[in-house]
């Protein structure tokens, strides 16, 4: 199945302006997507926002699936879902 990954903030410059398609197997979970992301962009993922050992984001970066914040990397993914990775910027 195909899942789309998009980055905002600092992640936008890593993944590009448009959502990137990642091919996964049916039944794959968020952690499988994150493994694929690390496989493709390992050198670009900044260590202050990405845990290379556990293959996931570090706070204050967050993951969102279909517009909802997700913290469980075992969350199942579906065909054509969009996963967003963003750092919550400081400002005000």
């Amino acid at each position: 199945m195909t899942v789309r990954i998009r980055g905002l903030g600092q992640f936008r410059s890593i993944f590009g302006e448009q959502a990137q398609s990642i091919n996964l197997s049916y039944g794959d979970r968020l952690k499988d997507l994150l493994r694929a992301v690390q496989g493709k962009w390992a050198d670009s993922l900044p260590s202050h926002l990405w845990d290379h050992e556990n293959r996931t984001v570090k706070r204050p970066a967050v993951l969102m699936v279909e517009g909802k914040r997700v913290t469980d990397i075992n969350t199942p993914l579906k065909e054509n879902q969009e996963v967003l990775i963003t750092k919550i910027s400081v400002g005000g």
Partner: protein, 619 residues
Amino acid sequence: MKGYMGKLLRVDLSKRSVMVEPLPEHYARDYLGGSGLGVRLAYDEIPPETDPMSPQNKLIFMTGPVTATSLGTAGRYQVIFKSPLTGILCDSSSGGHWGAALRMAGYDGLIIEGAATSPVYLYINEKKCEIRDASQHWGKDTFSVQDDIRQEIGVPKARLAVIGTSGERGVLFAAIMNDDARAAARGGDGTVMGSKKLKAIAIHGNLQVDLADPEGFKKVALDINKENATSADIEDLRMYGTTDVLDSRWAISDIPVKNWAIGSSEEICTPIGGRKVYELMPKKHQACHRCTIGCARWTKIDAGPYMMDAPGPEYESTAALGSMCLVTNLEAVCFANHLCNSYGLDTISTGSTIAFAMECYGKGYLSAKDTDGIALLWGNEEAVIQMIHKIGAHEGVGKLLALGTRRLAEKLGGSCIDFAVQVKGLELPMHDARAGFSWAPNYATATRGGCHLHGMTDLYEDSEDPIPEWGFTGTYERLSNEGKAEMTRFAQNWAHILDSLVICYFATVVLEPSDFCNLINTATGRDLKPLDLLQIGDRINALHRAYNYRCGIRRKDDTLPKRAMTPLKEGGAAGKIPDLDGLLEQYYRLRSWDAEGRPSREILQELGLEDVAQDLYPA
């Protein structure tokens, strides 16, 4: 006392007198400086029943023990006054260089009292303070008056704090502007300055503050400056400025849209976000006193109706004048921001009041007859521009909007108060409590009304072990109530320390309380520990609350408007709201307040506020 100039300058505009007084050292010890010390002076000198627009109100400009040193951002100042917008004590802060200039002229603070009978400005340097005629400058915009007075006094490097026509004419949310377009914006300090017929304060000096351990301080400051120049945590801030918030935080619905009615979306937010500002107008960054972050922008639009070449915009202004009004034309938003700066208006209150008026217009509370024929429709950027002109000049419908959302809602009646998004009369800043639950108890209890800078709780949402040196450990989910009352207390105290030192929030994202201690101790020769700072924060908060309590603030005032507590239907925070009542109950316990929000006698005594305890608990 090392780390201080040791002097306060007091100017009585009614008597046209100038006095130099010693800085009360025990207050410097108990409150550090800046906002804390200013609130203490205000508590002593401005009776709570004072009419904010009367000569009895005061403007207390304060710096802190690190102001004008080698530390980045230490050019800021605080101004403390009774607010005409809220009716309670307000402390407002501004960046730039003016605060450093005040210290370099020889003063830790400047107290303005009384009122002149005709327009005046002050010229302060190391040797004198003159009260000069400003008749020829009355009516000028904030940019030209800075240039003209600088030329008039013949000091090209003089720093100016000024008001525009909005302050002269009684707009309740007029700002004090300095160093082009830095603003002590919130609560109407510019309005108070205007009521005193004080157009400007020009300062120049070259004195240096005497530090206890100059070499030690220099090392601490340089380490912090270096960290701020290189830390990956604030890379976006350095590159894109504060408007970067629009590019990332829409996903969690943090950005208010259409007067807080709908969840934020990419379509509304990114066209006016930091990357667009950067792509379209990358003329140059601006930095405050020795700051190595340089988050401020400068925008240049070469043609069209919004042609401009001026500072800005910041995030809060962009959201208030943009997404709140459904305006997504970046050039229009930049121009609207520039107009606010020219008139000397608080952009948060201005944008919020216009968005509120748009909703009133849509619901029939205002008609075209009321709005001087202007169609106050969502997304009508030209209407936003016209409204700013009207408010800034205080004419026509502008007189109505100049009241701010709370008073306008009370005037219009019906259900308007439900969607007037303010706390204690101060329009809420551009972060949504439905997207970060800690904002709710913070907005409800922040000492000057709805405010994010008096407790940037959001920094600690989803963060691991936020302030371990203060015993604040653990991780707290953004959309959970757990730990949010404690988070509010810690964040508010942190803010009190920053505002008393006086340094910028952004320069401290990478710091711990022990870093503050190192700064204070090398500057003053004291031996403060992190928990001492926590107690100083508690003291400042209790004192400010006590003042507000004496102004009539009670539990009923510690709340959020209905609109801000109505679940969003869409976006990253859809369907969720914080448990404000439960959080307030916890917060009151943490602060040792009674059911009406009065600090307990015991906590006041414990914090060394015996005189305040006697005021709140008369025999």
